[in-house]
Amino acid sequence: MTFPVVDTNVLLQLAPMLVLLLAGLVFMMAGAFTRRAGAFQRSFVIVFHIVVLVYVIKLWSVEASPILNGMLIVDRFSLFFTALVTLCALGTVLTSAHYLDRFGMNRGEFFSMLFFSTMGMVVLVSALDLISVFLGIELMSLAIYILVAFRRRDFLSNEAALKYFLIGAFAIGFFLYGVSLIYGVTGSTNFGDIAAAVAEKGLARNPLFLLAIALILAGLGFKVSSVPFHMWTPDVYQGAPTPITSFMATAVKAASFAAFVRLFYMCFMTSKDQWVAIIWVLAVVTMTVGNVVALVQRNIKRMMAYSSIAHAGYILIGIAALSVDNNNAASGIMFYVVVYAFMTLGAFALISAIEKKGITRGLEEPDYSGLGLERPFLGFCMAAFMFSLAGIPPTAGFFAKYYVFSAAVNEGLVGLVIIAVLNSALSLYYYLRVVVAMYMQRRDVPVPVDADLGIRIVLLISLLAVLWLGFGPSGVVPGVEDVLEWTRTSLAKVNGLGM
């Protein structure tokens, strides 16, 4: 037999993916044989996620090298993001506990699709080849399309899924065109081979190569909701079931930015002076459009969608500041993504507690007025998340912005940072408007809130993360230094491999 026998080291590195695959299949069958996914099934869902996290911790100290013929690499960079997306999925499962029953969505297939999507994200963040990136994006996206449509009798949900699917198909087409051009120019789709080919053949200024970069930017820009590829975001975020919206806003963005950073770091850094201006412009319009249009939103889910667009703009500043000499920008991006995930998970957990049926879903301002006075804990959590999203110290949101902006200033992008800071100031209005409504306005009837145990757990953990990841010292519980240390060790390998 000429083929290698099964390598246990490779199997161990694939373990997170395989566990998620197994979980997806198990819950698909569970959905076929049971009528409702009760607490019994949900507990197994949580167990599977914990098993994945255990494998990630175990793999953290394993020496990483390209596996599967150079298609994937399970290094600390991908383990970092694997842990993040698994935590986001866990948060989604916890948030959805009562929500699923309330809206008739409580079936095993929900968790199955969640597992498959998470598996796609793990493939995406471990990708070392453009085809692996495509596979990861498609696996992640197709499962998410189904999840967005999960409220089958709801018009907005169906509309959101259709829009997401159609626009997503177009965007991935652009991405693939870019991939095919890179293959034509460099002769390979493997990140390492592309970097080597660019160095040998001097392709850094090749027009076809630059066109390929632009097309890939279009595809990835769609996934991270960058302007002008952002049109789908408000409608999809508003129509999707809120736990899925939080999953999309946190995990999908995190995984897409991971692939973004790895691809650009390993293959496109020699052409940096050609594309940095594009990213500059993309960052500015993304931030500005996101913040300005969020000002006029009445529905809180739509407001959060535009806010996520704005935050993608801030992260794009980090991409513009990527440098071959140091890891500051990439480290800042990774920290920002973590903090953003916690803030957003918490905010959407609260939103899913107050959501109702109907066109407005009960999410406009009069629907949550006075919430802070009636339910102090919920109000305090939401206020903390809003302050963090706006970037006010001492919350973690401020520190996340600080790291990214300081990396950008060190790279000489001072104008960009000034625009970003002005945008942050602008965003204060719509974030604090929520806080004002919660604390300074009143309703005749108290707000009907269904904050079950799962939501409370998510709120508590997100609150602690948002408050701790700023000033919190690193000790028993990981603080900001620990997280930054993790990001730096993750990037040491990534930077060393390609360039």
């Binding site: 037999m1 000429t2 083929f3 026998v5 099964v6 299949l25 698909m28 076929a32």
Partner: protein, 120 residues
């Protein structure tokens, strides 16, 4: 053979497949006489007079059958290359292919249980 020459047949095919229909339809519409009658504009139904219009609601069963066929047909297509290199890929390849087929078999069970294979 230089790269350009290898793909030249593809380019010729592409150019011809665009040019010939364009030429045929274009010359016919430009140079032909225009005398439209009702008979010429009705859709062709093998000589039978069309009754009613085609805009009727289709049962979604047809779409479901097409979807299931597509999925399992693509699965079969993936089995073909493995079947050609069966000996060379040995036990490792066999187990890999078994895993692939088992995953799709689970999908078939799911479809079966959900009643998507019922025609009525």
């Amino acid at each position: 053979m230089p790269l350009g020459l290898k793909y030249s047949s593809l380019v010729i095919l592409f150019v011809l497949s665009v040019a010939i229909p364009l030429a045929l339809v274009g010359i016919a519409s430009l140079a032909g006489p225009k005398r439209p009658t009702t008979g010429k504009h009705t859709p062709f139904e093998s000589g039978i007079h069309p009754v009613g219009d085609a805009r009727r609601r289709f049962s979604v069963k047809f779409f479901l059958v097409a979807l299931l066929f597509l999925i399992f047909d693509v699965e079969v297509i993936f089995v073909f290359p493995w079947a050609v290199l069966f000996r060379h890929l040995g036990l490792f390849g066999f187990i890999e292919m078994t895993v692939f087929l088992v995953i799709l078999l689970l999908g078939l069970f799911y479809v079966w249980r959900k009643g998507a294979l019922e025609w009525e």
